[in-house]
């Protein structure tokens, strides 16, 4: 088993201090977080963390259990890259005069799916949403033309197989949760459980 990229999705209450509580689960084990994004969800009071790390699956599974053990965490999932639809957003600041004079640049931007965010006399800002390779590719493209600044967000991702969290939340709010509320990862893997 090799290290690979995992996206951890954590649904939580929206409380002060929770970011630290989650972050130290990683730092205590000396695991580096590649990117972290916090955002609201489709449910009003529920918050969502999207965390990307490069680790062994065994480690990631244990991390998720430790995260889920936190009182204010509703649920933690981990997924490999192909189990989620994901995007990152990158911004590029480039001198306007070069863009204006070099037709080639305009074409390159179009090819890379960039769109213009702002145009000023002195600089122009482009944005690209996509996978890491795509946003990185444009850095290379723009570097010869005087790229002034580059910045990229953390990953946001949607789990391909997930249902609305809403439904799950109803279960959580009940005092006696139904079977659905507990995910026993062994449940559908009987053959794996006893073969070891």
């Amino acid at each position: 088993m090799n290290k690979q990229e995992f996206t951890i999705t954590v649904y939580t209450e929206n409380h002060v201090g929770l970011l630290n509580r989650i972050a130290i689960i990683f730092s205590r084990r000396k695991i580096n977080i590649d990117s972290l994004n916090t955002s609201p969800t489709e449910v009003d009071s529920v918050h969502r963390f999207t965390i990307v790390i490069n680790e062994y699956e065994d480690v990631v599974r244990k991390l998720c259990r430790q995260i889920e053990k936190q009182v204010d965490v509703l649920k933690a999932y981990y997924n490999t890259e192909n189990e989620i639809v994901w995007q990152e957003l990158a911004l590029y600041k480039v001198p306007t005069d070069i863009i204006a004079s070099e037709v080639k640049v305009e074409r390159l931007l179009r090819e890379n799916g960039a769109h213009t965010v702002v145009i000023r006399k002195d600089y122009t800002v482009f944005a690209v949403a996509g996978h890491r390779e795509e946003t990185e590719a444009l850095i290379k493209v723009l570097e010869p033309y005087g790229l002034i600044e580059f910045v990229r967000t953390g990953r946001v991702g949607i789990i391909k197989g997930s249902n609305r969290f809403h439904e799950r939340l109803k279960e959580f709010e009940m005092k006696e949760p139904g079977e659905e509320a507990i995910e026993n990862e062994f449940l559908n893997e009987n053959e794996k459980v006893f073969s070891m």
Binding site: G17, R21, R28, K69, V71, F172, E179, L187, V193, M196
Partner: protein, 583 residues
């Protein structure tokens, strides 16, 4: 929710201008939660709560400790001897940071404690105000939950949550930090409602019947099954269910240091203690059993030794309330998630009544070997100098195993846990996971408040005693009945043992000097005695146990005695050695 509403305690009469203070709400929460004893120390940022406490003297006992670390260890001792939640009050800044060791200890040993700390006024947060410290962030890794209150309106429900979280599921420490303005603030109080549900928190995972069935199948087919259990049995109040299970199954059982006393040490299926200084048979036979049933324990490295040489031949069944413990250190073939008070009876119902005479005989053979090579010399030494073991043996003879034994950390702890006899649960109180020296004296004070009808004996080394020796002042003032037994070998014995065995006897800073403990105790108004000869031992222990109130007995023991057996670090449990020649 209707039933819960009926349980509300009536709001106490408003204080004139439409409400009560946050401080009063804190104390009302204590009353509603059935708290009878608080361990604490006042200071600037918690003064409003202490002011309110002035009028609650008849309802809440407050024990003024001599250091906040003493307060939290006392609260831990209280929780461990009573099964109820221990409560601590401390002020902001240094008061709060002094709790950290105890929080870490309670976290790793799953002890239910609620700490209330004062905090500077909310408008001063982040200004480096006097005695301001970021206690929430400092304590996040060592609390099950923590929360900062800056508005009195939050106090009732936050404290209800705190008590619910601390003592449900896998228990643990909770800290609530309350800013001074919230303590002073008057608010409309509508009574206290106990918390029974938090949507993001599930204390008990749902029991999966198919795994109980799978576990029963494995147990019924086993030829050499072995039960190892931890504090989960005690915390789950499942001693009866556990005993019924092993008795029907006929399976030998060994405890971790934290599980000790869950069943009487004299039980015919009780095989002793696991781990680094545990018993010979249970360690060796862990690597010989065919089904290993782990109940309410977490496979600490002191229990497992080297993991890749641990029980590789066995099918592992792991019962635990905390899903994060399953597969954390040892892969479970059958994970049984749930509260063992629920899962054990289900399992007992599915297993066959059995006995394993040959398998038990194996344990007996190892016990005899250990008896010959280690125990005999430790309990009945022929040399002139006293051993720790014979002190514990003499203590056993006089308590008959009915006492609560509180131990500190080090050689005396291992010897006490190896040889102490127990008849009742919740009787072995020690710092297991964190190994906190200085734990025993304050924990014993707390234990005596948690179980006022029982004899509490604190067994402490000369090093650990000096770490929290100031709590003798607490004993002086509040007169709890604690029997202090110091086993003095004039060394930091466990470190010295390691230096002898693994560092070519380079004794680096382990020759600790001690004051005259009897004189020190005398200064605190505590009677005491020091002995060094065998002929005085019985009488001295008798005096210790039968004195009115606290008594300090110092026993001078062999300086360079070692604790054996031992699983040297980095070796497998089956590589346990009985003497230093074998290392």
């Amino acid at each position: 929710m209707k039933a819960a509403a009926e349980k509300k305690t009536p709001a106490i009469s408003p204080s004139g201008d439409g409400g009560i203070s946050g401080s009063l709400a804190v104390l009302e929460a204590m009353i509603a939660e059935g708290v009878d004893t608080i361990f604490g120390y006042p200071g600037g940022a918690i003064m409003p709560i202490y002011d309110a406490l002035y009028d609650y003297n008849d309802k809440l006992k407050h024990i003024l400790v001599r250091h906040e670390q003493g307060a939290i260890h006392a609260a831990q001792g209280y929780a461990r001897s009573s099964g109820r939640t221990g409560v601590v009050f401390a002020t902001s800044g240094p008061g709060a940071t002094n709790l950290v060791t105890g929080l870490a200890d309670a976290m790793i040993d799953s002890t239910p404690v609620v700490c209330i700390t004062g905090q500077v006024f909310a408008h001063l947060l982040g200004t480096d105000a006097f005695q301001e410290t970021d206690v929430i962030n400092i304590t996040t890794p060592v609390t099950k939950w923590n929360y900062q209150v800056t508005d009195a309106n939050e106090i009732p429900h936050v404290l209800a949550k705190a008590f619910y979280i601390a003592n449900s599921g896998r228990p643990g420490p909770v800290l609530v930090d309350i800013s001074k303005n919230a303590q002073l603030q008057l608010f409309e109080y509508s009574g206290y409602e106990k918390c029974e549900h938090i949507r993001s928190y599930r204390p008990k995972p749902i029991v999966r019947k198919e795994y109980i069935e799978e576990a029963a199948k494995l147990i019924n087919a086993a030829e050499k099954p072995f039960v190892i259990f931890g504090q989960g049995v005690i915390l789950g109040k499942a001693e009866k269910e556990f005993t019924a299970f092993i008795e029907k199954a006929g399976i030998p059982a060994a405890w971790t240091i934290m599980g000790m006393s869950a069943i009487p040490t004299s039980h015919p299926l009780a095989m002793g203690m696991l781990g680094m200084h545990g018993n010979y048979g249970p360690n060796v036979l862990t690597n010989e059993c065919d089904v290993l049933i782990a109940i309410g324990m977490r496979f600490d490295d002191r229990v497992t030794g080297r993991l890749d040489k641990y029980a590789k031949q066995a099918k592992v069944i792991h019962l635990d309330i905390d899903p994060a413990e399953i597969d954390k250190n040892v892969k479970a073939d059958v994970p049984v998630w749930g509260d063992c008070k629920e899962t054990l009876p289900m399992l007992t119902g599915l297993i066959e009544q059995k006995v394993y005479p040959q398998w038990l005989q194996k344990f007996e053979q190892y016990r005899q070997k250990e008896e010959e090579k280690v125990i005999q010399d430790e309990l009945n030494p022929t040399g002139e100098i006293l051993t720790m073991g014979e002190v514990i043996k003499t203590l056993n003879e006089q308590t008959s195993g009915d006492a609560i034994i509180v131990t500190d950390v080090g050689q005396h702890q291992m010897v006490a846990c190896r040889y102490a006899k127990f008849n009742h649960s919740k009787s072995n109180i020690t710092s297991g996971g964190l190994g906190t020296m200085g734990y025993a004296l304050p924990a014993a004070i707390g234990a005596s408040y948690g179980a006022p009808d029982r004899t509490v004996v604190a067994i402490i080394g000369d090093g650990g005693f000096q770490m929290t020796i100031q709590e003798l002042g607490t004993i002086m003032q509040f007169k709890p009945n604690v029997k202090l037994l110091i086993l003095n070998n004039n060394f930091l014995g466990m470190v010295r043992q390691w230096q002898q065995l693994f560092h070519e006897k380079r004794y680096s800073f382990v020759d600790i000097q001690s004051p005259d403990f009897v004189q020190v105790a005398k200064g605190f108004g505590i009677p005491g005695k020091s002995i060094s000869e065998r002929k005085d031992l019985k009488e001295a222990i008798k005096e210790l146990l039968h004195s009115d109130g606290t008594f300090l007995l110092e026993v001078m023991v062999g300086k360079e005695n070692n604790v054996f057996p031992m699983v040297p670090q980095g070796r497998g449990v089956a590589e346990i050695v009985l003497s230093k020649e074998e290392i």
